[in-house]
Amino acid sequence: MLDVARVRKDFPILDRIVNGRPLVYLDSAATSQKPQCVIDSITDYYSRYNSNIHRGIHSLGEEATAAYEGVREKVCNFIKATSAREVIFTRNTTEAVNLVASTYGRQHILAGDEILLTPLEHHSNLIPWQTLAKERDAKLVYCDVTEDGKVDVESVKRLINSRTRIVAVTLTSNVLGTIVPVAEICTIAHASGAVVFVDGAQAVPHLPVSVQDLQCDFLAFSMHKMLGPTGVGILWGKAEILEEMPPQMYGGNMINSVWRDRVILNQVPWRFEAGTPNIADVIASGVALDYLQALGMNNVRAHEKQLSQYALAQFSKIPGIKLYGPSTVEDRAGVFSFNLSGVHPHDVGQIVNEEGIAIRVGHHCCQPLMRDLDISGTARASFYVYTTEEEIDLLIGALDKARKVLGHVACR
């Protein structure tokens, strides 16, 4: 298990005072906090070997290039991929989805084809496919979810057919916490010849994820949600698919030879990284991966499972609370969406912030899911390696206050 007290010492922001109280950060699903070693690696890079990469023959350039390319190896190991050449650096998960939709998608989706999504998808893993479907006159198909927010695999089986080209599915819902049985879905999809794009933004930071086990075709995630800096996303794709994909952007670094009127492109993965990349943050991302690997992803998962168990028990005691998503910790991650009767999530967020507690409120970039649930939004508390049961207690206390200030109890 994690030694959370020791972990917390690595995160300087946890000393922050907000509205007179120590920060209680329960918004890790939006972005995680960063350990000192990640912050230090950025300082170190800019203070010691900052240089543009790939093109340099001088020592700084060589050091920066080696460090940058070394992170590809680390990502490769982290997700159990077979080759670092399958790892592409993007800005975030969103860019990774758009990259695939605008290249692979445009290559393979024709009129009448189908793209299968779950109703749980984040806007980032929805609008690019919606836009592609519109452009190509293809069809977006949504599978079903059960009452408690699990993906109905039977509906996936029923809906996938020979016209299904792409299945875009999240591995963990950022609203309901649901862990989706992606390996199973991959088997079904592959049997029909569809490829599977997995949005791992909420999964890779919190669970051991192996692309070999999943057998997916693409995996995307964001380093800023897993202790890394903002500005780095990862797109992993099977080499044989990437090899056939055109680039999404053109410019420096992604070419072999250029003439006034034509160009010969560079190989994978560099073909997909035009221009000067976010060098410092890619290198710092490697440090974040090392940190997580040292904690052990199994331990990270065990810690969050334990917190989830505790949270489920505590939340259920609050009068008038509506908790969304699976009620068994095996099926869910440490992301809890809820509503208090008679209190709008905005007001919940504002009132708990007064106590130094940071939660997120609103639609969480999942408006279609909100419409399905017939709500305008939720309040959401999300956990990570530095989260404690005491922090959950503090939230519960603050929710009580919110009910008192605004709820029907206080209603004259």
Binding site: H346, S376, G377, V405, L406, A410, R412
Partner: protein, 155 residues
């Protein structure tokens, strides 16, 4: 000062729990405009009936937060029955109050609106308070140009 003193004043909670002019207006001359706050997803539909240069009827359908709901409620109360010109002045006065930090003198008869002054200290909530007003501006434009339904955002 506590949050309850600054933001959640009694007047606001009153309008939140008992919003005035809620619901759908129907009729041939009634115009509906959708307002959206893209950041939090708050949406409302404003129904407006302008006749002979006067706001004859107005209502709002929404599931907003306390500030949004109270602001909607107060706004509909304030503008109902007013000539469009007066409404526009009031909108200006209200937006100035919220955005410029001015302690604008709100006309006496609309003193409820002053309760929203506290929102200024919570910048993220200002948008909640402004959404109905911005939607009203849009609705008045549409009314003037004879347009129909429209969606706007406050960003």
């Amino acid at each position: 000062m506590s949050l309850a003193d600054e933001l959640y004043r009694e007047t606001i909670l009153d309008h939140y729990h008992n919003p005035r002019n809620q619901g759908v207006l129907e009729g041939p001359s009634i115009l509906s405009v959708e307002g959206v706050n893209p950041l939090c997803g708050d949406e409302l539909i404003l129904y407006l009936d302008v006749k002979d240069g006067k706001v004859e009827g107005i209502s709002i359908k929404s599931r907003g937060c306390s500030i949004n709901t109270a602001s909607s409620s107060m706004m509909t109360e304030a503008v109902k029955g007013l000539p469009v010109e007066r409404v526009e002045e009031l909108i200006d006065a209200f937006k100035n109050m919220m955005l410029k930090g001015e302690q604008t003198a709100v006309p006496e008869e609309f003193e409820d609106l002053e309760a929203l002054q506290g929102v200024k200290k919570y910048p993220v909530r200002i948008k909640c308070a402004l959404l109905p007003w911005n939607t009203l501006i849009e609705a008045l434009h549409s009314a003037a140009s004879g347009e129909t339904a429209k969606a706007i955002s406050t960003e």
